[in-house]
Symmetry: C2
Subunit: 727 residues, 2 copies
């Protein structure tokens, strides 16, 4: 539970031991003023209300990259984010001769700044409006679940369409507290984004997978983009005539970094937490979802690593996916460990029992909230009956870019065929077409028949083993699979079928895909392409799954807000909503943490760790220029970025701020709103906090602004950018 204790209890504990435990909460900016007393106890002397103004300082400088956060750091549209957030841009611009992933990139002049590929956007949040009343007003009392979901979706789409009218904006209506509230978030959409500077992999991803989620850490996880707009200052697609965007607000990068005990803030777009799940839902995550994901991730990693070994070009194509799989694997293993140890699941159960008892203790509460938890438990049990089939049906396209493209193109043709844009499914409306098309273009960097066939075959082997009552009929029919088939027979059938599938498709051809983009559904369906045919044959079953999903969503839309209201009332009113990719603020202090028995993880690391970890190969391969700069420092070369207490340049630091994926690249701000670092990770012991917040050991990992500035000036020759940021 991420529930903050009642206000009086909170203030008492804050006064007694302000730094004893970390504070839970990825707060909505407008909630910040309510936390004033707590922030004061931590030593914050500013006005928390400043965080509530999204178009003021500092929030106006925070932007979303979609999946990552970034911030403006110059008046000329310079944006800083994490190195691991620009992998796609580096991959997009890489060639066998110019390995940007490995060597990094620095644009010496504006003209050298590289387009980061179709679909890359910078979103600047310009407004947040509470639209709960409008979305949930006068819901017909007897409407069936699926229809309720459709109605809510239609109201949301209507709001979004109105918000986006006029162009240059992207709007989202996001549910908070399980649909108890809805907020409309309007964002300016900047479409011309260029790569300015990324350090070498030996800095930006120093430590690689070995150190990922770990501490002590020595990663220089930063990179720079620049936002461009049309000469008129309005968002425009990439063009030579475009000019750097001039943000209203930008952050100042502090040459002082962050120090132990200091209060820091992180503003960004955390992706998803599930702290308000019921006990039964978390139990399913622990007992089934995570073990399954971990097993499948390991299998895929082994498969892709084997392929990457065979061929350098394949290795480049698989790199992003491997990094994602490895990252996810470590995260999921950490979550599973965290939820398995120390009775975390039992604690979740106990919290739920307390809620049940609290509801039962008062007749009015019983009337209002009674039954909600039972309903959620029953729905969960029902979903578990077909979980294997549903997981594979929904996940199959993730194993094959060919199939995924065919599915998207066929479904788009069907949705396009609808007259009213509002009738089209979310994600397939007119507003989505450009993005969908760009995705088809971007896909060309990674699509590959050998990669695709290997992973698709792997998924089909699993599908062949589904139990008799959970079969995926279109696949069985097409590939000639039967329940209970011997493994060797199934493989033979699959291989024979895949020979035909890959011989009869042009799905890897970009022009072929883009041509399908424009065609009506019947023409798409009539296309002589094996993957299109498969998509067409699977469509009814996928539609049925989506329809069942709608019914479930509708049912949740009735019951989950009731459950959440109970939680919030029990907590005294102030609860941070689960992360949902909207702009949030979290606070904490720079602080070390207990490691394994006998170890204290210090709050800061230094260049000394690079010297210790550098092996000259693999994941610990600092560039020569970097090692030389350290040698020069050791030989006495002065730098303003030395930490006097450490006697060294600090690299990364730990803090108690509460973050999750999506926060990557978020600026870490000090009490003055200066950028003192970039959030880029959490510790392994923290990741289970996505489900159940652990107040003692949870830590986020940041790179210190001094390491950024030192590397830019002493290693990478990016002094002109430092100068630009200082202007």
């Amino acid at each position: 539970m991420r529930v903050l204790r009642t206000a009086s209890a909170l203030l008492l504990s804050a006064a007694l031991a302000p730094l004893a435990v970390a504070d839970e909460g990825m707060w909505m900016p407008q909630q910040m003023p309510q936390l004033a007393l707590r922030l004061k106890a931590l030593g914050f002397e500013g006005d928390p209300a400043q965080f509530a103004d999204l178009t003021g300082f500092p929030m106006g400088a925070i932007v979303s990259l979609g999946g990552c956060t970034a911030s403006f750091v110059s008046d000329e549209g310079l944006i800083v984010t994490n190195h691991h957030c620009v992998t796609g841009a580096l991959q997009y611009n890489a060639t066998p001769e110019r390995n940007l992933l490995k060597d990094g990139y620095l644009a010496k002049t504006r003209a050298d700044e590289l387009p980061v590929g179709p679909g890359s956007r910078v979103w600047v949040t310009t407004g947040v409006t509470d639209v709960t009343a409008e979305i949930r007003a006068k819901l017909p009392p007897k409407i069936v679940d699926a229809a309720l979901d459709r109605l809510l979706e239609r109201r949301i789409k209507t709001r979004v369409a109105a918000c986006e009218a006029g162009g240059g904006k992207r709007c989202v209506v996001a549910p908070f507290f399980g649909g108890k509230s809805y907020y409309e978030i309007a964002q300016m959409e900047i479409a011309d984004v260029r790569l300015v500077y990324a350090p070498a992999e030996g800095i930006g991803n120093f430590g690689g997978e070995t150190d990922n989620w770990r501490w002590p850490r020595h990663t220089g996880d930063w990179s720079f983009y620049r936002a461009y707009v049309g000469p008129d200052g309005k968002p425009a697609t990439h063009a030579a005539a475009n000019v750097p965007y001039k943000p209203k607000f930008r952050l100042k990068v502090s040459p002082k970094g962050a120090s132990p005990g200091e209060v820091v803030f992180v503003a960004g777009y955390p992706g998803r937490t599930q702290r308000h799940m019921t006990f039964e839902e978390v139990r399913e995550v622990v007992n089934w979802q995570l073990p399954r994901s971990i097993k499948l991730a390991k299998e895929q990693i082994a498969l892709l690593e084997e392929l990457a070994k065979q061929d350098k070009a394949l290795a480049i194509k698989a790199a992003g996916r491997l990094r994602g799989l490895n990252n996810g694997l470590t995260n999921q293993s950490g979550v599973l460990e965290g939820l398995s140890r120390g009775g975390a699941l039992a604690q979740k159960e106990k919290l739920q029992q307390e809620l049940v008892a609290w509801i039962a203790a008062d007749p009015a509460r019983s009337t209002k909230y009674g039954g909600a938890l039972d309903t959620l438990a029953k729905m969960q049990a029902e979903a578990e009956k077909t979980r294997d089939r549903n997981a594979w049906l929904g996940g199959l396209a993730m194993s094959s870019t060919y199939l995924s493209a065919a599915n998207t193109l066929y479904r788009l043709s069907l949705e396009r065929g609808k007259k009213q844009d509002l009738d089209r499914d979310e994600g397939y409306q007119q507003r989505d077409w450009t993005r969908l098309k760009e995705a088809q273009e971007r896909m060309q960097r990674t699509i590959d028949p050998r990669l695709d066939r290997a992973t698709f075959r792997w998924a089909l082997q699993h599908i062949a083993e589904l139990p008799a009552d959970q079969r995926i009929a279109p696949i069985d029919t097409a590939a000639g699979l039967k329940p209970g088939m011997a493994k060797a027979d199934a493989e033979k059938a699959i291989d024979g079928w895949l020979d035909k599938m890959y011989a009869g498709t042009k799905m890897a051809d970009k022009d072929f895909r883009l041509a399908l983009f424009e065609k009506p559904a019947k023409d798409v369906a009539a296309t002589a392409d094996t993957f299109v045919a498969l998509a067409v044959s699977m469509h009814p079953m996928l539609e049925a799954q989506r329809e069942a999903g709608r019914a479930r969503s509708g049912a949740y839309a009735r019951v989950r807000p009731v459950y959440m209201e109970a939680l919030i009332e029990k907590a005294g009113g102030l609860v941070a909503p689960d992360a949902n990719s909207t702009l949030r603020v979290t606070y904490g202090v720079v602080k070390g943490v207990d490691g394994k028995d006998g170890l204290w993880l210090k709050p800061q690391t230094t260049l000394k760790g690079i010297e210790q970890k550098h092996t000259g190969e693999g994941e610990f391969d600092a560039p020569d220029t970097h090692l030389k700069a350290i040698q020069a420092l050791r030989a006495g070369k002065a730098t303003p970025y030395l930490d006097p207490k450490l006697g060294d340049v600090p690299i990364d630091f730990l803090s108690t701020v509460d973050t999750t994926g999506g926060n990557s690249g978020s600026p870490t701000l000090n009490a003055k709103g200066e950028l003192v670092g970039l959030l880029f990770d959490g510790t392994y012991d923290s990741v289970a906090s996505n489900y159940l917040y652990e107040p003692v050991g949870t830590r986020s990992i940041h790179v210190d602004s001094r390491y950024l500035l030192w590397t830019m000036t002493e290693v990478d020759g990016a002094g002109h950018l430092v100068e630009e940021m200082n202007r």
Copy 2:
């Protein structure tokens, strides 16, 4: 350099920052009173003079096991030492049905106490006498080097013989400061030693090789012996009528253990440090000796592990040797790392240059000390010319127990043939015969033709590759080896020869070896045994090597004392001599240390670490009884051994005391002389201190007496021993 700064500088720094850095020095007990002020600064309120009285408290309770240290902890002769010091005793009593190495052992009654095998002794130091004047008096000025060595050895043997007259004693005349001083150490020798209690491997060696030399550590490295004497109270060989020895002094085991910041002492028998080597000598260690040893250890480990895999009986026979090799490998790697990093060798060179400059700065000093360093450097350069041959010639017998036994038996027969005992070589005098015979008996537990042939073959492969000017002729002749031979040809020759060697020997037969023990040299030489014949053929070359060694020793005996006098004078007079297996005292405080960048190694570990590290297999396999006792503790079972600050039972702790191999098993004493722990290891970052003391990071590792007492009472049912110790 292990030189302590001049007294005034020392006291000044002590007053300013008493705990800032660790104190170097494995002090001779009689030096302790000179350290009174420093000890007071650390918070010690007792009288350091108490450590100078070897027959008083606490020093009278400290004993040597030969290679390890131990102490009396009851009035009934109960002795505590490290688990890793009793491996031989466990091996000796192990059978395929009763795996004492794995399961440990507890004698419920005195009658169950097990003899620990021939040759095991307990030595109680009873006196230390300065005999420098006698040993070095009136040395003939023109005597040649080898004769000088002989003369010194004869004087030493004469002293030892006089000291040991009457029996029941063992005496040593040991050189200190490179032969500048000689002390005669007299020790009572207790020959009936029995195994009382050893915990299971999952406690006593928890963490195994993985954790060896590492921190955080969770090893319960203790075991108990009991010393028995004849009914008359005098040392006697093992007999049923023997009774427990009643020591004059015994240590009290503290139920309070040790806590951070506390002053602790370690009294014991550190084996060997080489901090007074010259720069050129250390350079040879870094550039040649250590890389060679590390390479050879790795090869042997791989070989033995492969053999151990094939056969359980072989595994038991190879276990002790493997443990020793692994331990040595980690140690040597640590020393090499320590001496290679941070310019340690350059620091050694600088210290030597300072000494040279200090000598040159004063004409009287130049006259007295000038030339000593040059001579040492020249001798070192000369020795390096034939280092490969000499290393293999001296080390070959270590690869074959068969050859080693044959060498010993033949040489013994020759030495026995001499009329005067004083003419016999050191180690082959009458006083050594029992020990040599017991070694032949003990050998039977590990000798094995497959093991022997494998390691002997490995050594011969290396010998086959020696350069043409460094050949070992008797091996070349016997095995048909030639310099520059192709590898395959050499192997073929070796294998053919080994077929004959192992077919024609009875060296694995104990009775055969013991029979040779009594025979005159000509009968031994005439024995029809291939290994005896090899020993006879190699004898002249080994004798020549020994003779060259004598010449070198004689030369060192002239020059090294001069060098040491210069060092001591420069240091202001107070210098701790290098460890030489004699009784020493070292002091320090319980204190954590910086680990790798970003890590602080806390000073204590707790049971929590067992829970974290336990995997249920291999090196991290805590016994079920142990895990259950932890569960009971977690469930609230009271224990007096809980550390209130840690909220847990402490396991191991770090201190700044200066120790080395041989100190294993030493009692760790608090300011009252109570046993608060047992020294059992040093950290990896400390091991290079054997050559060049590192005052900031050097730490010793101890097991806390509370873990010992908790395990004895809560896990192993050894409450009767705790009771005995408390009496």
